[in-house]
Symmetry: C2
Subunit: 518 residues, 2 copies
C-alpha cells in the first residue's frame, strides 16, 4: 500500500473515521485512497474553515477526533480561525495538511509555504511525515496527541511523495488512550477546608467539568458549602436543561463579571481558566478576579475535572444529590419578532437531545434564560472568539450525532465568514436548523465602539459596522447552496417555521429578521 492508504488505515484503526476535506493536487493520493479504506467517511467542504470548524464540532459531540484534509499553507491558513477556536475548546483534532513532495520544496513553486510557522500557533502537536514507512506511526502519534487529555489540535504534514510512495511497514498497534490525571487528595482536602471556612466562595467550572457528572458533583459541593457555581463564559459543551444541575455563565462584558463575582473571597477553578476580560478597555481591568480574592485550582487542563469534583463532594460530606432545573418552557410567542420573542420561540420548541450551537452574539441574549427548563440538551459556544464558528461546528456536530437535532443560532455578520458550511449540510443531509439572526449590523461592535471610549462613531465608522446597503438575503444565500430556507418577520412565523423544521429531516435555514440595536 502507499503512504496515504497506510495513513488512513492507521486513523480508522484508532477510531478516527471521519475526515472533513478540502483537498488539492498534493492530496490526490489521500483522496484516491478513500475508496480503498471505506471505513473512513470523507466529507467534502467547500472552504477550509468549514472543515476545521466541523472537526471541532464533531469532537465536541463525539468525544474523539475527526481528521481534516487541507491543502498546503494557504489551505491551512483558511482553516486557522476555526483551529484557533478548537484549540481554545480543547477539542481533539487530527489536522492533516498536504504538502509538496519532499524533493519539490526547494524549487519554490507558487504554493511553497512555511506550513510549520502557520501551524504552530494553533497546534499543540506538530510533525511532518518524512517517509512512507513512518506515516502510520505518525498518524497514531497524532491521534494520541490530539486526544490528550487535554484535547489538542495535532497537525500532521503529509508530503505528496510520502503519500504516493509504497510502504510495507505494518500499522503499529493503537496505543492505550491516556486517562485524565486524577487530582491529588491533598489538593481536594485543602479546598474542602477552604470552602468550609465560611468566606464567600465560588466554583468556576469549565471544560470537561460541564458534563452531567461534573455538574452534579459541583452542585452537591455547592449545596454543602454554600459556594456559588459559575460556568465559564464560553463553554465547549455545557449539558443543561430540565433535571440537570442549573448553572449560569459568567458574562461577556467585564463589568457583568465583576457584579457576578462581587465579594467572592475564594474562587476555585475546576477545568476553567482564571476569568479575564475578553478584550482590553481603557481604564478597565483585564483580570476579573475580585480584589483580595484567593484563586485555587482544583482541576487544570488535562486533569480529571468531574472526578475531582466528586472527590471534593465526598470531602465536604455533600448530600448525595441536588434537585435539577425544573421543567419549564415559555409560551409560544406571537406578535413582533425581537430578541425576546425569538428566545421564547426557541424555548417553546427546543426538542429533547438538541445540540444548540450558539453564535447568536447580541441577538441571543435572552435565549439561555428561555431554554433553561427545556428538555435536556447540549450548548456549544464560541470558545476562541474567532467568529464564523457556528455553521461549521453545527455541521460537524450533526455528523457526530445523527438522530439529534442541531439548532444553530447564527448572527448575520458571523455567518458570512463560513457560509459554505450550508452546502455540506445539504450534501450530507444533516439535521441542522439554522436560525439566522439578521439585525443587519455588527451590533456587538456598535456597543464596543463606545465601550473602548471611541465615542459614538461618525458616519464612516458607522458604515463599517453596518451590514445593510445592501441587505444580505439569507434565504437566497441558503437556497443557492441547496438548503431550504424561509424568512420570519414575526414571532408567529418563526414559531411555525421552526416547529416544522425541527421535525423534518435535513437542513433548513430560517432568516429571523430582527430590529437593530438603535
Amino acid at each position: 500500500m502507499n503512504g496515504a492508504s497506510s495513513l488512513l488505515a492507521a486513523l480508522v484503526g484508532a477510531e478516527v473515521d471521519t475526515c472533513f476535506a478540502n483537498p488539492g493536487t498534493s492530496e490526490m493520493h489521500f483522496v484516491a485512497a478513500l475508496d480503498a479504506v471505506p471505513a473512513m467517511r470523507g466529507v467534502l467542504c467547500l472552504f477550509e474553515g468549514v472543515a476545521t470548524g466541523a472537526a471541532d464540532g464533531y469532537a465536541r459531540l463525539a468525544g474523539r477526533p475527526a481528521a481534516t484534509l487541507l491543502h498546503l499553507g494557504p489551505g491551512l491558513g483558511n482553516g486557522i480561525a476555526n483551529l484557533h477556536n478548537a484549540r481554545r475548546a480543547g477539542s481533539p483534532v487530527v489536522n492533516v495538511v498536504g504538502d509538496h513532495a519532499t524533493y519539490h520544496s526547494r524549487y519554490d513553486a507558487p504554493l511553497q509555504s512555511d506550513i510549520e510557522s502557520l501551524a504552530r500557533p494553533v497546534s499543540g502537536w506538530y510533525r511532518r511525515s518524512a517517509r512512507p514507512d513512518d506515516v502510520a506511526g505518525d498518524a497514531l502519534d497524532a491521534v494520541a496527541a490530539a486526544c490528550g487529555p487535554p484535547g489538542r489540535v495535532a497537525t500532521l504534514v503529509l508530503p505528496a511523495d510520502v503519500s504516493w510512495s509504497e510502504t510495507t511497514a505494518p500499522v503499529p498497534p493503537v496505543p492505550v488512550r491516556r486517562p485524565a490525571s486524577p487530582v491529588a487528595p491533598e489538593t481536594v482536602e485543602t479546598l474542602a477546608k477552604a470552602l468550609g471556612s465560611g468566606e464567600k466562595s465560588a466554583i468556576l467550572l469549565g471544560g470537561g467539568a460541564l458534563g452531567q457528572r461534573g455538574l452534579a458533583a459541583a452542585a452537591r459541593v455547592a449545596a454543602a458549602t454554600g459556594a456559588a457555581l459559575w460556568c465559564e463564559t464560553f463553554p465547549t459543551r455545557l449539558e443543561r436543561g430540565a433535571g440537570r444541575p442549573p448553572i449560569e455563565r459568567l458574562g461577556y462584558f467585564g463589568e457583568f463579571v465583576e457584579a457576578q463575582l462581587a465579594g467572592v473571597r475564594r474562587l476555585v477553578l475546576a477545568g476553567a481558566r482564571r476569568p479575564v476580560s475578553f478584550f482590553a478597555y481603557p481604564n478597565k481591568p483585564s483580570d476579573l478576579v475580585p480584589p483580595g480574592c484567593d484563586v485555587q485550582v482544583l482541576a487544570g487542563a488535562g486533569d480529571d475535572a468531574p472526578g475531582s469534583l466528586e472527590q471534593l463532594a465526598e470531602a465536604v460530606a455533600a448530600p448525595p444529590a441536588t434537585p435539577g432545573a425544573p421543567a419549564a418552557r415559555p409560551e409560544r410567542p406571537t406578535g413582533s419578532l425581537d430578541a425576546e420573542s425569538l428566545a421564547a420561540a426557541v424555548g417553546a420548541l427546543l426538542p429533547e437531545g438538541a445540540v444548540v450551537v450558539d453564535e447568536s452574539n447580541t441577538s441571543g441574549i435572552f435565549v439561555a434564560g428561555a431554554t433553561a427548563g427545556c428538555p435536556p440538551h447540549d450548548w456549544l459556544t464560541l470558545t476562541g472568539g474567532a467568529i464564523g464558528y457556528g455553521l461549521p461546528v453545527a455541521t460537524g456536530a450533526a455528523v457526530a450525532a445523527p438522530g439529534r437535532r442541531v439548532l444553530c443560532l447564527e448572527s448575520d455578520g458571523s455567518a458570512m465568514y463560513t457560509l459554505q458550511a450550508l452546502w455540506t449540510q445539504a450534501r450530507e443531509g444533516l439535521d441542522v436548523t439554522t436560525v439566522l439572526l439578521a439585525n443587519r449590523a455588527y451590533a456587538i461592535l456598535n456597543l464596543e465602539l463606545s465601550r473602548v471610549g471611541a465615542g459614538a462613531g461618525g458616519p464612516v465608522a458607522s458604515s463599517l459596522l453596518d451590514l445593510s446597503r445592501p441587505d444580505l438575503d439569507f434565504v437566497a444565500l441558503a437556497t443557492g447552496m441547496g438548503v431550504p430556507a424561509s424568512r420570519a418577520t414575526t414571532a408567529d412565523e418563526l414559531v411555525a417555521q421552526l416547529a416544522r423544521s425541527l421535525t423534518e429531516p435535513g437542513p433548513r435555514l430560517i432568516e429571523a429578521v430582527l430590529p437593530g440595536l438603535g
Copy 2:
C-alpha cells in the same frame, strides 16, 4: 491625536488612501479615526480573505499599496491565502493587524494569538508598534517596505492601547521612494553577446517586465536576435491586446512547458523566476529548464526589468519598434455554451481598457487565444496558487481603476472561497462583471488525479471532486449579496447578458453553465 489617527495621517501622507477592512473590537479606534481622516477610504469586507485579495488587486492596478485592517491572529489567518498570492505577485500591501493592548496579552484571553508566527510566512516585512509616538514612523516604514522594489506584504501589528493612547509626535516626512535597481552594463553586454551566438534562445518575462515598456523592448530584442519570448505562467499583470507586443504564456502543466521550451539552449530571465513545475508528479521533473540549457538572469526581483530590456535592445542594435498584435475579434458565438463559445463571447465583447481577472482554470483554456486581438486590456492571474483570489482581486482592481470595466472569469469551485467579495462590489457600486464558470466540479483535480498517478478515482474520490449534489445556484448566491445576476445556458444568452453588463454601471454576475469534463 491618538495612535490610530497618527497612523492614518501617516498613511494618507504616503498616498496610501484606501483601506480594505474587516475590523473587530481591538480595531475600534482605527475605525473611529476614519471620520477624522476623510482622505482615507474605508471599504468594508465581510471576510478577511476579501480584504487581503482586494489589497492585492488594488496594488496591481494602482501601482501603490492599499492598507488592510484585520482582527488579531484569527483575522490574519483568514487573510493568509490571499496574502500568499499577493506575496507571489510582488504586490505592495500595508497589512495592518490589530491586537490586544500590550498589557492584556499576558492574560491569555480567548483571542490571544501568535500573530508574528502567522504573519512571517506571507510578509516581507513585519513590525509590532510599541508606542503611540512610534506609530506614524512605523507606518511610513511599512509603506516603504511594501513599495520595495520589489513589492512586498508589510505587516504592521497595532496593539489596541497603542491605537487609543495619545501622541504629540509629529508625522515624519515621507521618505523618497526607492527606484528599481538598474542592471549592470556588463550583465547586459554578456547577455547581448550570448543572444547573438546563434544558439536557440528564449527570454522569459515576468513581473514588471510585462508592462508595455518591457514588452516593447523585449519584442525588439527578439526581432534582432531571433530569441523566443515567453510570459511566465502566472503573471501579476500582463498588458496585452491589439497593438501591443504579443506574447504567449508558459503552460500550467510541465509537459506543455517542456514542449514550449524544447531545444532552447539559453534562457534569459527578465523579472521572471526559473520555470518549475507547479506541483510534483511521480516520475516527472520539477525543474522545467530543458537539459543542457544555460539560464542567465537579466533582471531579478527589485531590478528595473523594463529598463534592462531597453538596455539589451540597444546592445543588440534592435529595430526601433516591432508590430503589435493585429486587431481581431471572434464572431459573436451562437448555439451551445462550452469552453470555446465562452471564449468567443468574451473575445467578441471585451471592451478597451478592460481588466481581466482570470481564475477560470480549466474552463478558460480558450479565452486567452480568443482575446489576443481585442482592444488593449490588462490580464491578472493567480500568482500564488491559493484559489479564491478572483472575486477579491477584481474588487480591489475596480476600486483602484474607476472607469475601467473589470471582467472576472471565475470558476465555481474557486468562487466559493471568497464569495463575500460580491457584497463589497454591491456596496461600493463597482463596475465588475463576473462570469461564473459553472462546470460543477473541481475539474482541475479530476485531471490531476490521473496525472499524479492515482488512477481514475473510485466513487468516493469522485464525490470529493464533484460540486453537484446539490448544484450551487450562483444567481441566488449573487442576488443574496445584492449583485444583480442571471444565468446563461447558451452562447446567445451569454453574449446578450455580457453585452448588457459591460455597458451598465455597477456589478453583475452571469452564471455560465458549462458542460463538465467527462
